[in-house]
Amino acid sequence: MTYQWDFSPILARWPMLLDGLFNTVKIAVIAIILGVMVGLVLALLRLSPRRYLRLPSSVFVEFYRNTPPIVHFFWFFYALPVVLNISLDPLIAAVLALSTQSGAFYAEVFRGGIQSIERGQWEGAKALGMSHAQLMRRIILPQAATRMFAPFVERSFELVKTTALASTLAYGELLYRAMMVNSETFRPLEVYTTVALLYLVLLVSCSGLARLAEARLTAYR
């Protein structure tokens, strides 16, 4: 092992990587927000007493949970535009793929959280004369939120990692920028080790923040 590590060509191109990191965060934040909205709708449909609402949402969730994300990326970027006769920007295709996919997972997080609240809480609220909407807002969701927190964070971490797939659509996030740096420097070991560490730093610091937030959220216990 006589390989001479040399990070200087990569350091010289750090603005490129920084721009990639920014795009990674951007796409992740957009997809989390949209994914939460998709997930809420799917969860409400799945909890509905009406079968014709439950069934489509179950099919959607199961389909997304049981197919690889890269298929979704390619499907949104190449297949959907052909059918609709439009063209999609890589960013939009990636956001669509990420938010629908994570929406399916978020839906399960939300549903699990709501269903984990004991029957007594629903009854206690009903016995006071609360309507379904009132008891959801005041009693069930505040408690479910604390229980959903950990799985929600876990899912969001998966989403952040999945954003790397946007590189396959040539969207300029961190991995794609790394590939560009690599093609200019021919230093794959340094480049890919650096981006791996950048992801590590990003996710470890996010998980630190998540732990702080969780401690505040569950203060009443």
């Binding site: 007594g120 009854e123 016995a127 006071l128 004369g129 609360m130 009132q134 009443y220």
Partner: protein, 271 residues
């Protein structure tokens, strides 16, 4: 403790608040309530006793629609609840808004307390007033404090329920129900999940409410308490009222063999 005589007011001006007719409840293939006719008059205190699985809790829970009756009607102040479609008198639909109004007037205290763990004691007692009755915060707070003082928890208003003993939690639950100023209070085995040494503090609060002349229904295993508390005792078995009468009639001189057998099991080990 139950030996002392209580001076409880006799029910005045008997007028049925709540009327039940032909009540049946099925859980799948299980026929839990098998045709119950019944009415509650203002000021009555009714103790419902019976073995486990006799349907006594289900019966109580039908009265505020925690369980939806399978058939039969319930009327509040003479007005039947729920709506029927023409031609199908057995199919009663209960719109949510109507159930909410009923539950505002018929309070319930549960075996498992069902306090809201993410709210303080005071917030628990204020919740119904603020969310359901749309009362102003200050006013709700005042009333909630009054009820918490009444159950002896005026000092614990800012703690979360998780920090309280079972007996204290149940007293908060009673205060929460009282704050709504219900016309009828339902108690579903309020002391069954308490450690024996905590039962007394809850029963004392219930007795105090009896002295105020409130209309109450109590499902209980505490037969001694039922004897001193109730104006009427109902023995429920196999989903029907097996015996109904004054505490003396049902608990001291039961007319039915089944009632006697039930009471014997309870008094087997008493001195």
């Amino acid at each position: 403790m139950q030996a002392e005589t209580l001076s409880m007011p006799e029910p005045t001006r008997p007028a049925p608040i709540l009327q039940v007719s032909g009540l049946h409840k099925w859980f799948g293939a299980l026929h839990v309530l098998r045709g119950i006719d019944f009415s509650v008059e203002a000021g009555e205190r009714i103790a419902i006793i019976g073995g486990s699985g006799s349907g006594k809790s289900t019966f109580l829970r039908c009265l505020n629609f925690m369980e939806t009756p399978s058939s039969g009607r319930i009327a509040l102040d003479g007005t039947p609840l729920g709506r029927t479609t023409a031609g199908k008198p057995d199919e009663v639909r209960y719109p949510e808004s109507e159930l909410c109004r009923v539950r505002e007037r018929v309070g319930m205290v549960f075996q498992q307390f069902n306090l809201f763990p993410h709210m303080t004691v005071l917030e628990n007692a204020m919740e119904g007033l603020v969310t359901v009755k749309r009362m102003k915060k200050g006013q709700a707070r005042e009333r909630a404090l009054r009820e918490l003082h009444k159950v002896g928890l005026g000092e614990k208003t800012d703690v979360y329920p998780g920090r309280l003993s079972g007996g204290q939690q149940q007293r908060v639950a009673i205060a929460r129900a009282l704050a709504m100023e219900p016309e009828i209070l339902l108690f579903d085995e309020p002391t069954s999940s308490l450690d024996p040494e905590l039962v007394g503090e809850v029963l004392r609060v219930i007795r105090q409410l009896a002295e105020e002349g409130r209309t109450m229904l109590l499902v209980t295993h505490e037969l001694g308490f039922a004897y001193h508390f109730a104006t009427k005792v109902i023995f429920l078995a196999d989903g029907v009222f097996h015996e109904v009468g004054t505490p003396d009639e049902v608990l001291k001189h039961p007319g039915q063999e089944r009632t006697r057998a039930f009471l014997d099991r309870f008094t087997e080990f008493s001195f």
